[in-house]
């Protein structure tokens, strides 16, 4: 079933907000000035962060992939207390469903966008980029594009659900 990406972004807007916030926070932690942040808008791009070109290529890569870590961790944390009542115990209440919605929405926007990939691509291709930047940069760009392609097949949603459901089950399996 084809559902326009913009509609999915509107439905899962908390994830978009956290995604942009993650870019902004990585800029702050890496001391990169930020000039404008659009956390969410109902048009493409649904959110963006305007910041200075970092002097370090590593910083540039980290700012681009920052949402992957922040959204994944936050999505997992938010969904964690609700995952068992919703998916296993069958005793979930409204708040549990709300947390699952938030957790899945946030985790499914963990994948960096193709815009993020383009930024990394530009840095990796520049003269003077170290071999390690290339070693890490090219596969990251490839993975981001694969993820983007996969989103046509709901990979982002599957990832979100996997993080929300899979993590509690993994922890229980390890502790049991």
């Amino acid at each position: 079933m084809f559902i326009p990406g913009i509609l999915i972004s509107i439905i899962t807007f908390p994830g978009v907000i956290v995604h942009e916030l993650a870019h902004q926070l990585f800029c702050r932690w890496l001391k990169v000035p930020v000039f404008k942040v659009v956390y969410f808008q109902a048009e493409n791009p649904v959110g963006y962060v305007l910041h200075e070109v970092p002097s370090s290529k590593w910083h540039s890569i980290l700012i681009s992939v920052g949402p992957f870590f922040i959204n994944t961790l936050l999505g997992a944390l938010i969904a964690f207390p609700a995952a068992l009542p919703v998916f296993k115990f069958g005793n979930a209440g409204f708040l549990d469903y709300l947390l699952i919605y938030l957790g899945v929405s946030i985790a499914m926007h963990a994948f960096p966008s193709t815009g993020d990939a383009n930024v990394i691509w530009e840095h990796v291709r520049q003269k003077g980029a170290s071999i390690w930047v290339k070693v890490f940069g090219y596969p990251i760009v490839g993975l981001i594009y694969l993820g983007s392609l996969g989103s046509f097949f709901w990979l982002d949603l599957l990832y979100g659900i996997g993080i929300a459901v899979g993590l509690p089950n993994l922890i229980i399996a390890l502790l049991a």
Binding site: L21, E52, S55
Partner: protein
Amino acid sequence: MEPTLLPEEESPGSPNQCITCQHPVIEPGHPTPLCSDCRQKFIRYPIPLGIKIFGGFVAAILIFALAGMRSNLSAGIHYERGRKAIEQRNYFTAEKELNSVGKKISSFTEAREYLAIASFYNQDLQTFATEVQALQGVKIEDQELYARLNALVEKGSNYFPSDSFIALIERYQLIKNIPDTVFLRYLANNNDELLPATHYANTLFERKEYAACDSMLSLILEKDAVYFNALNLKSGVKRALKEYDSSVYYADRILSLNRESTLAMASKARSLLRQKKDAAGLEWALKSVKLDGDDGYCKATLALAYHFNDQAAARDKLLNELKKDSTGASYAQFALDVISGKEEFRN
């Protein structure tokens, strides 16, 4: 969602001035000409109040949800342990684990399904009946689990008295009061009922008519080779007949169905002790008490095992404990009779 970079060439004014406040001293080494203060200001670009409120709202829900998380996590861990124990046929552990899940989350259908299975193999028929009743009308999604439970429910009917058998017991008040002729007629007319037949075999056992009891149990096991009540009694009667290997064989058959059947463990321990395999007997007796420290039969067996392994202090301590317990007193008395030589246990 793209981080757009501010193009360097778009910097207005003189490159020697801060682009926002025109301060003449700019911080060097950066593509955007900014003074130190402005750079810090942009680095700490403010997060809007709305976003902070949104974050606070999520945090508040999260804190609320975290309050119940410990209990949920604990229930999840007990459930997983119970499920794993069932896969390994460790039904005693499984029932213990799944019981603690049920106490926390009664609506957890799968846990109840597994608890019903575990309680059946432990012959905890009260729990089995309660769980099966609670599951009636509930949709079971796991078809394999459903089939397994269904098979046990069908088998389970053999463990509960039929209405006609209840009527017979009520007429004579106690099973042992039912005259043989009446009992045998009932069995002949209700050939498919295994429970009354086992009760009759038990009556024969109590009368020390071991050979007749053994034959009766063989007939029952022909109808259901894994009928727990008959297997348990068979292990006992074989011991009484001094066919110890056979007694151990039937205990092992139970243990092959439920690796944690404490009754079978204790029965096996007693047969081993009778064979003067004292170390092995002690090992099995210890295993049974380790699992179920409240069971009088298991504790009395362990006391006997201590006795035959020359551990008088441990034996006496256990027997004293057992004598204080009203349900364990008769088991303690049997052990005391064996120790005093009043009851012949082994040659």
